[in-house]
C-alpha cells in the first residue's frame, strides 16, 4: 500500500519493483504482442503431455527449422562455410511464407471398418475455432501415419483418397468433395501428407461447413480396403503416430496495428 518500491541497480539504473497489478498489465501487453486474448491454459499439465504426441513433435521440428532460417538471415553478411542446412525450410515453401502455423488435434474419429458394409472409410474432425484473427490460410495439410498393415502383397498399389464432407444426410450417403489422392505400395511405412487447403478455407468461412474429412483406401482394381487393415493409424495408434492437421496462415499485409 506504499506504492512501488524503488532500488538502484549496480549499473546505476533506477529499478522499480512492479506491483501485482502492474505485473499482470505487463503480462497482458506481452500476450497482446503474441496475439493472445489471455494466458492459454492447456487442458493437460506439461508433465502428462510426455511422451510427446505427433503434432507437438512435428511442430518442434518446424520451429527448429524456422529458427535456423532466422539465424541464417542474421548471418547474411557472413560467408557461408558449412553449406545450406537441410533442416531449413525451402525459400518460398508454405512454412517459410507463414506468419502462424497451427497444428490441430483430431477431435472425433469415426470408422466404417470390416464389421460394416463396404465401402470402408475413416473420418476425422478438427476444431478451427481458435484460428488467429486477421490472417488468411495459405496452405493446410492432413498428416496420417501409414504402418505396414496386414497385407500379404506389399508390392500391390493402394490409392488413398481424402475428401471433405460437404453435407450430411440421414437417409443417404454424405456429399463429398475430393481434396487429394496418393498412390503408394501396400508395404510402405511413414507419414502421408494430403493437401486439404480447400477444406480449411471452407471451414473458416463458416463453422457449420466443418463436417470433417473422410479417408478411403482402394486397391488397383477398385476394391475398398479398411484403412486400419491397410496400416493407417488413427486415435488408437501410438501417440507419436496419431493423425493431425497443420494449417499455415499469413498475416494481412496491412500495417494497421490493433490498438491496446
Amino acid at each position: 500500500g506504499t506504492g512501488p518500491r524503488r532500488r538502484f541497480h549496480a549499473a546505476g539504473f533506477l529499478q522499480r519493483r512492479l506491483s501485482g497489478g502492474e505485473r499482470r498489465e505487463v503480462q497482458r501487453e506481452i500476450l497482446a504482442v503474441l496475439g493472445l486474448p489471455g494466458r492459454p491454459r492447456p487442458r493437460t499439465p506439461a508433465a502428462s503431455r510426455a511422451p510427446a504426441a505427433a503434432a507437438p513433435l512435428f511442430m518442434l521440428e518446424l520451429y527448429r527449422a524456422v529458427a535456423g532460417e532466422e539465424e541464417e538471415e542474421e548471418e547474411v553478411s557472413r560467408p557461408v562455410l558449412t553449406g545450406f542446412s537441410t533442416q531449413s525450410p525451402q525459400p518460398g515453401s508454405a512454412v517459410s511464407r507463414a506468419d502462424t502455423v497451427v497444428s490441430l488435434v483430431n477431435m472425433v474419429e469415426q470408422d466404417r471398418d470390416i464389421f460394416s458394409p463396404r465401402p470402408y472409410w475413416k473420418e476425422f474432425r478438427f476444431d478451427l475455432t481458435q484460428v488467429p484473427a486477421g490472417e488468411s490460410v495459405t496452405a493446410a495439410e492432413f498428416r496420417i501415419y501409414k504402418a505396414r498393415g496386414v497385407t500379404r502383397h506389399p508390392n500391390n498399389t493402394l490409392h488413398v483418397s481424402i475428401y471433405e464432407i460437404a453435407a450430411e444426410h440421414s437417409n443417404r450417403e454424405s456429399d463429398l468433395f475430393l481434396l487429394d489422392v496418393q498412390d503408394l505400395r501396400a508395404g510402405t511405412e511413414g507419414w502421408l501428407v494430403f493437401d486439404v487447403t480447400a477444406a480449411s478455407n471452407h471451414w473458416l468461412v463458416d463453422r457449420k461447413y466443418n463436417l470433417g474429412l473422410r479417408l478411403y483406401v482402394e486397391t488397383d482394381d477398385g476394391h475398398s480396403i479398411d484403412p486400419g487393415s491397410a496400416g493407417l493409424l488413427g486415435r488408437r495408434g501410438p501417440r507419436s503416430k496419431q493423425p493431425f492437421m497443420v494449417t499455415f496462415f499469413r498475416a494481412s499485409p496491412s500495417p494497421a496495428r490493433v490498438s491496446r
Partner: protein, 139 residues
C-alpha cells in the same frame, strides 16, 4: 647505414574510446565527455521466470536487445544517424527547451518465433517479423 629504429612509446591502455569508434560491439562505450552513446544493449526475457513454460514450448526465453544512449551533437560517435537526427541535434543545441534531442531507437529489426500450446492443446508456431533489435541509431 640505416638508423636504429626509434623505440615506440608503449600504447596507453586506460584511454577512453575515441568518440568516432563504432558503438554496438563493445561494452560501456562512452563519448569523450563520459556520456554513453546510443547503442544496442542486451536484454533477455526468461519465459521460465514468467512461469510460462507450462504453455510455451520453445524458446525458453526471448533473446532480444534494446537501444539506449545519448544522441548529442555532434553525432559522429553514432554512425547510424539519420540526416534529420543530425539537424535536430543541432537545433536542440540552439533551442534546448523547444526541440528535444534526437532519439536513440532501433534501425533494423529481425524476426523471431515462439512455439506454444493453446487452451485446446493445439500447438501454434508464431513468427514475429519485426521483433528483435539488430541495430540502433539516432532518429
Amino acid at each position: 647505414a640505416a638508423k636504429p629504429p626509434r623505440r615506440r612509446q608503449p600504447k596507453k591502455t586506460n584511454d577512453l574510446p575515441h568518440p568516432n569508434k563504432l558503438p554496438g560491439i563493445f561494452d560501456d562505450v562512452h563519448a569523450a565527455d563520459g556520456r554513453q552513446v546510443c547503442r544496442r544493449h542486451e536484454l533477455y526475457v526468461s519465459f521460465q521466470d514468467l512461469g510460462w513454460l507450462d504453455w510455451v514450448i520453445a524458446p525458453q526465453g526471448y533473446s532480444a536487445y534494446y537501444c539506449e544512449g545519448e544522441c548529442a551533437f555532434p553525432l559522429d560517435s553514432c554512425m547510424n544517424a539519420t540526416n534529420h537526427a543530425i539537424l535536430q541535434s543541432l537545433v536542440h543545441l540552439m533551442k534546448p527547451e523547444a526541440v528535444p534531442k534526437a532519439c536513440c531507437a532501433p534501425t533494423k529489426l529481425s524476426a523471431t518465433s515462439v512455439l506454444y500450446y493453446d487452451s485446446n492443446n493445439n500447438v501454434i508456431l508464431k513468427k514475429h517479423r519485426n521483433m528483435v533489435v539488430k541495430s540502433c541509431g539516432c532518429h
